[in-house]
């Protein structure tokens, strides 16, 4: 379907095809600057460097990166909201946020220059995924604090695509707009795309025949090859996956090209490493471990060695598409217990926090995650501890609704809540296995 010649036309920037030595030189220079910047401007980083006994000036080679301290999600929490920022308020032009581990969101900021970098990174990703200025791109990520929608939006405009800022939800309207506007590229989570296809079919519209879609750019959550095949079949599109997280910039960290042999990481902006999640030791190319990323061009929020918790491997071989940037494999799993529900990150501990602060129910819980009509569904079993709710169905029902509302308010998820007998849920010693994820297919 796609020739090698065609692949080569789909490179946005010459910075995607540098020689390895050029990338390394660029990375070393930018890493030094970034380390100096955070050491000087961010007290939390100065302390981290000092505790690790390393100074920015100690960086002589790229391999010295391994001596620098890691950054984790906890650092964002501890320095909420702006403690990790290295730019002053007057230089920030945008905030975004994602859900955090304690109910407080993870806040990120962008300077004007960061916004330019972000647009550039997205322009690369959408170009390598097939989109050009001939395309009409419908963004079906939710617009708001999450980085997904605005991130893709700006980059798609940069390549000249006609952007439809549709946001998520109102699925039948999505289909109508697709049909009436002649949408050619769909940007959403893979599960929402599958759901939309079903709704279209219910409306009597065959997405593969009656719509003009060519490209599907999916992200915000992991997906499987069988999902990709299904998406291609039902929509009649060519699907690619892209990857990112707000802590690093948002979407734009990496994405697949049409050769579909891994997700290209823009190495002039990021340095990826793979580590053993237990020991922190750096692993070699091809070895599977936790992805760690250092941003080397960001101003507002440069991040040193961010532990993504995502399990993958790196491949430095030149790709069929002509790019020389390193590729990361499809995410194989997480090194922690984070769940991604319809693109929203949820930690089981957040659910525990909600239950602990809700009267009438106990702190023990069990989570079941599954797919219904391709959408992520979550059920939470909680123990009823206060017998007085048994007085009437109405009281029991209102307690159930109360727990449900609190989960929605704090976590942004709509969970089905099942009240169960006290002491009926399993107790764990050591690492608890409270999550039953029935979504895993291949």
């Amino acid at each position: 379907m796609i020739s090698k010649e065609d692949l080569k036309h789909r490179i946005w920037s010459t910075d995607e095809t540098l020689e390895r030595e050029q990338y390394m030189a660029l990375q070393l220079e930018r890493l030094k600057k970034t380390a100096e910047r955070v050491y000087e401007k961010v007290p939390a980083y100065k302390k981290k460097f000092d505790d690790a006994g390393v100074l920015p000036g100690d960086i002589k080679n790229l391999s010295d990166l391994k001596y620098l301290p890691f950054t984790t999600k906890a650092d964002f929490r501890d320095n909420y909201p702006f403690g990790l920022f290295s730019s002053e308020r007057k230089d920030i032009v945008r905030f975004h946020a994602s859900s955090g581990t304690t109910g407080k969101p993870t806040v990120v900021g962008y300077t004007r220059n960061d916004m330019e970098v972000w647009k550039e990174l997205i322009a690369r990703i959408v170009t390598q995924a097939g989109v050009t200025n001939e395309d009409t791109a419908q963004i079906s990520f939710g617009y708001g604090l999450f980085t997904g929608a605005f991130g893709l939006h700006q980059g798609l405009e940069r390549v000249g695509a006609a952007v439809i800022p549709m946001s998520s939800g109102n699925t039948s309207k999505q289909i109508m707009i697709m049909q009436d506007f002649g949408t050619t590229a769909l940007i959403s989570t893979p599960s929402y795309a599958l759901h939309m296809a079903e709704v279209a079919l219910e409306m009597g519209i065959d997405p593969a025949k009656d719509l003009q879609l060519k490209w599907g750019l999916f992200g915000g959550e992991g997906s499987t090859e069988s999902m990709r095949n299904e998406l291609n079949r039902v929509w009649g599109i060519f699907s690619t996956e892209n990857y990112g997280m707000s802590e690093l910039i948002g979407p734009g960290v990496s994405g697949e090209c049409l050769a579909l042999k891994g997700m290209h990481i823009s190495e002039d902006h990021f340095i990826p490493e793979i580590i053993d999640p237990e020991t922190g030791e750096v692993l070699g190319p091809g070895q599977v471990g936790e992805l760690v990323i250092t941003t080397i061009t960001k101003e507002a929020l440069p991040i040193i060695r961010y532990r993504t918790k995502d399990i993958t491997s790196l491949n430095y071989d030149k790709c069929d598409c002509g790019r020389t940037t390193v590729r990361m494999a499809k995410i194989q799993g997480r090194s922690d217990d984070m769940l991604i529900l319809g693109g929203v990150n949820v930690f089981p501990s957040q659910i525990e926090d909600v239950l602990l602060s809700t009267e009438g129910v106990g702190p023990h819980y069990q989570i079941k995650v599954y797919k219904k009509a391709h959408l992520d569904k979550i059920e939470v079993d909680v123990e009823l501890t206060d017998a007085s709710y048994l007085e009437s169905y109405a009281k029991l029902e209102s307690l159930n609704q109360h727990v449900r509302n609190r989960l929605r308010t704090v976590l942004g998820i709509d969970a089905k809540v099942n009240l169960v007998q006290p002491a009926s849920l399993p107790r764990f010693e050591g690492k608890a296995r409270r999550v039953i994820d029935l979504r895993k297919e291949d």
Binding site: E391, S392, Y393, V420, Q421, P422, A423, S424
Partner: protein, 138 residues
């Protein structure tokens, strides 16, 4: 003194009822009346037993939360129209009935049923003033 009713949370899972009746059987507790409705998520089992305090204790030992509440038991006459009379008396006096259920009837024995209302003493006197037998003790 009103009769005590036992309420137990009953998740919609296989074996929940059997589990409960097994506990009662082992602990020598006699079930006199019982009801569960077909709600979708979970049910509340309501029961009248011979020793409600003991029932709560043994359920607690088995990790099951139960609560006691007051209900009324009424013994309508065994003839057509007796229930009709009772509910008309209640309705004419603006008494709201939350729910009712029947006792297990022994052959030839009395035909009690359980009446859940908010102001039990008032309804007791009301029904008694109309000559309807209210059961004070099982």
């Amino acid at each position: 003194m009103a009769i005590k009713q036992l309420s137990v949370l009953l998740p919609n899972q296989y074996g929940m009822l059997a589990n409960l009746t097994e506990i009662f059987f082992k602990e020598d507790i006699d079930i006199r009346a019982m009801s569960v409705y077909d709600t979708t998520e979970y049910g509340i089992l309501r029961a009248v037993v011979d020793d409600p305090e003991k029932a709560v204790e043994v359920l607690k030992k088995n990790g099951i939360v139960a609560m006691l509440s007051d209900i009324m038991a009424v013994n309508p006459e065994d003839r057509k129209g007796s229930l009709n009379e009772i509910f008309h008396i209640l309705s004419n006096n603006n008494v709201n009935v939350d729910y009712i259920y029947s006792f297990v009837v022994k052959k030839g024995g009395p035909q009690y049923f359980v009446l859940k209302v908010s102001d039990i003493p008032k309804v007791e006197s009301l029904l008694e003033s109309h000559g309807i037998e209210v059961i004070k003790k099982l």
